[in-house]
């Protein structure tokens, strides 16, 4: 391989030690990422908005997130009288568990992976949808109309965007010939972002919707629904929902990195450095979108999923399939530029004829 930094798949010894140590490591990794990313988000968005952002607690405001967590944990934990208490309690946990489960199959560097199952891609597609159930439960149980609307939007949006996302992943599986994530990463001598640019774009848009980020943050929509599904939450349970939101963003960036940016691969530096660097770039992209774009309306969002992303994802799958079956030995110097050109043409023609939802004026 390109990289001299690799460790054996069952590091640090036998299976059980591997399981234990890596589980702890992964949870610590996720939590650290979340705290860092909350800080980064606040600082970076502040820069986008011509202001400073938190800079009082600790150097560069680094301790701001920790201060916030302490504050939020000492808050009163309110459960609305008419809420469905059991569901209200377990919803944050149900929303959070799948995120940790996804992390189990992600290769952080060569060999550093909790478990390399041979249906990894399908596993991710299946497990990531469970978060939506947690969010839906939290919205439904809180006996609040805003939350209910948010919950309904969540389900509608998730079902719609799951399909183009999975179809974009199918293109990857087709090109890799395996569903195992370690082989998805090791196949990417050239990142799939270049090999399948159309799939990359579709996946980016779909993942933004999956993790409820702008322009698809209809579930929270704080200007319409006053925070949507988590309106009634407070204290520890709100902290968990907040954690869910940011871990979703981290996982989204990790998935973009693993599937399309070549995972941990890269010259010279250890794999984990490349991995975290690429995750950061993906996260920065998400922030960029968040601080620039207005929110779509629910019908426009649905229209985008079904009328634009779904056909494009099918076309992507078709093109990748054609290339894999008939032209497996085509030089990358030909295939990459050709596919990029095809992508640009397709996206522009779709943008021309399928605007996300402009209404006809004056009718």
């Amino acid at each position: 391989m390109i990289n001299a930094w690799s460790i054996s798949p069952d590091w640090p010894g036998n299976f059980w030690w591997h399981l234990l140590i890596l589980t702890v490591l992964l949870i610590a990794f996720l939590m650290t990422c979340v705290i860092m990313f909350i800080w980064l988000e606040r600082r970076i968005i502040a820069r986008f908005q011509a202001r400073l952002g938190p800079n009082r607690a600790g150097p560069f405001g680094l301790l701001q997130s920790i201060a916030d967590v302490i504050k939020i944990l000492t808050k009163e934990d309110i459960i609305p009288t008419l809420a469905d208490k059991v569901i209200f309690w377990i919803a944050p946990a149900i929303a959070f568990a799948p995120i940790l489960m996804i992390l189990a199959v992600i290769p952080l560097m060569d060999g550093l992976q909790l478990i390399d199952i041979n249906v990894g891609v399908m596993y991710i597609a299946a497990v990531s949808a469970v978060t939506a159930i947690g969010v839906f439960m939290s919205g439904m149980a809180s006996n609040n109309k805003y939350s209910l609307i948010g919950a309904m939007r969540e389900i509608a949006q998730l079902i719609s965007y799951e399909i183009p996302m999975v179809l974009a992943l199918a293109g990857i599986v087709l090109a890799t010939g395996s569903m195992s994530l370690s082989s998805v990463v090791s196949t990417q001598n050239i990142p799939f972002a270049l090999m399948q640019p159309l799939g990359f774009v579709i996946f980016l848009v779909a993942i933004l919707a999956e993790i409820n980020r702008t322009p698809f943050d209809l579930v929270e929509a704080d200007s319409e629904l006053t925070a949507g599904f988590n309106t009634e939450y407070s204290g520890m349970k709100f902290a968990v929902l907040y954690l869910v939101e940011y871990s979703e963003a981290v996982i989204g960036s990790i998935l973009i990195t693993t599937f399309f940016l070549g995972g941990w691969r890269g010259p010279f530096l250890p794999g984990i450095v490349w991995f975290i660097g690429k995750v950061f770039i993906s996260f920065f992209f998400i922030l960029w979108i968040r601080s620039t774009f207005p929110r779509l309306r629910i019908d426009q969002s649905m229209k985008l999923a079904w009328k634009t992303l779904l056909p494009l994802a099918l076309i992507n799958l078709f093109i990748v399939g054609l290339k894999t079956v008939f032209l497996p030995d085509l030089s990358q110097w030909v295939s990459v530029p050709v596919y990029i050109i095809i992508t640009v043409i397709l996206i522009f023609s779709w943008a021309r004829f399928m605007r996300p939802g402009r209404q006809v004026v004056g009718t």
């Binding site: 011509a50 609307i149 702008t214 774009f293 929110r295 309306r297 605007r355 209404q359 004056g362």
Partner: protein, 367 residues
């Protein structure tokens, strides 16, 4: 098989991030589509008009600031004008120009806030809002330089303004006039070409010219529907007949046109300020008036074009030192009457934008 559905009644407000104050809409929803709206207001009612009757004429000036706290100077104006008409007080030329300059600065500040908060309602996580605030801050600095206040200025007096401009004001204003058009272009580049923004605002909340007139709306809401009506041109007050400026109008009367009208009005205001700066004569900023002013009995009406539309003040005097009755024609309140018509049939998410595009200030609506 048809599923049994039931209507969903949602209370938007009174405490809601996008109602700009405390306004409540009782919305009947069918899924996401609005079937009926019941606007409920009065949560910010302070009895301002009754308070006007309890105080002397001079004490009422700071109270008129509190009507529409976003454009305080423009709220002083009709009240002061009405009292001047009743008492026959002459305003020096310099004071008129100062009023125009400060009023137009206030108009820009108010429009910046209006446009920025609509963007915020649309979900641009505070970015546009912060950019607009950056420029609004400069305007407020300018106003602070003259009046010493940052929000409620208490600037106008009967027969003039409270104080003349300091020496450093004109250079600062010149610098502001030079830089502001560039920032306005920046907003246009950032916002007007954004596909999502166009999708969210074009064709949303269309107000037909006929119903705009029938409901006697005014300001950007009326001009967005394509009707060229601006008190500054239609019935010029102060020295507005000496300036050259255009009245921007929209074509379709949708949210996008109201946004365009506001952006264009800011440019026109810059033009007016520039001309006023050049024409401004030297002289006194105020004619002295008696401390306990007692206008002769009678009634009068004065109106100006505030950032939200036609702001009028109807004043009745019974010859004492307190007004007998003082009624304000609040443009935001009358523009609000078209809300129900605009909202029915739209989506819930549009309701927020339409509401924002009318640009209400609840202090003025409830009084």
């Amino acid at each position: 098989m048809a599923l049994a559905t039931e209507q969903f009644i949602l209370n938007l407000g009174p405490v809601h991030p996008s109602t700009h104050g405390v306004f409540r809409m009782r919305v009947t929803l069918d899924g996401e589509i609005i079937q009926d709206v019941d606007p409920i207001f009065g949560y910010l009612h302070r009895g301002v008009e009754k308070l006007f009757e309890q105080r002397t004429y001079k004490q009422n000036i700071p109270l008129s600031d509190r009507l529409d706290y976003v454009s305080a100077i423009n709220n002083n104006w009709p009240y002061v004008m009405a009292v001047e008409q009743l008492a026959g007080i002459q305003v020096p030329q310099r004071a008129e120009y100062l009023r125009v300059i400060m009023g137009e600065l206030q108009r820009i500040a108010s429009h910046l806030l209006a446009v920025g908060s609509v963007m915020n309602d649309m979900g641009v996580f505070f970015t546009a809002f912060m950019y607009m605030f950056r420029e609004r801050e400069k305007i407020i600095d300018l106003l602070e330089m003259v009046t010493g206040q940052r929000l409620l200025y208490n600037y106008m007096r009967f027969g003039g303004v409270s104080q003349d401009i300091p020496t450093e004001f004109l250079p600062a204003l010149t610098k502001f006039l030079k830089t502001m058009p560039g920032y306005l272009d920046e907003y246009d580049r950032m916002l007007a070409g954004n596909e999502i923004l166009l999708a969210r605002t074009k064709g949303i909340g269309v107000l037909k010219p006929q119903s705009a007139v029938n409901s006697s709306t005014s300001g950007p809401v009326l001009r967005g529907s394509g009707i060229k009506w601006d008190i500054r041109k239609a019935a010029p007050y102060s020295v507005y007949d000496r300036f050259e400026f255009d009245i921007p109008t929209g074509e379709n009367g949708d949210c996008y046109d109201r946004y365009r009208v506001r952006m264009e009005e800011m440019r026109q205001s810059l033009r007016i300020i520039k001309q006023a700066m050049e024409q401004m004569p030297a002289g006194k900023e105020k004619t002295p008036t008696p401390l306990r002013l007692r206008p002769p009995a009678g009634e009068t009406y004065a109106q100006i074009e505030s950032p939200r539309g036609m702001l009028g003040c109807y004043l009745v005097s019974d010859g004492t030192e307190k007004p007998y009755r003082c009624h304000f024609r609040a443009p935001a309140f009358i523009n609000l009457t078209v809300l129900r018509e605009l909202l029915i049939g739209q989506k819930l998410a549009d309701a927020i934008i339409i509401f924002g595009s009318i640009d209400l200030s609840m202090g003025e609506v409830d009084r």
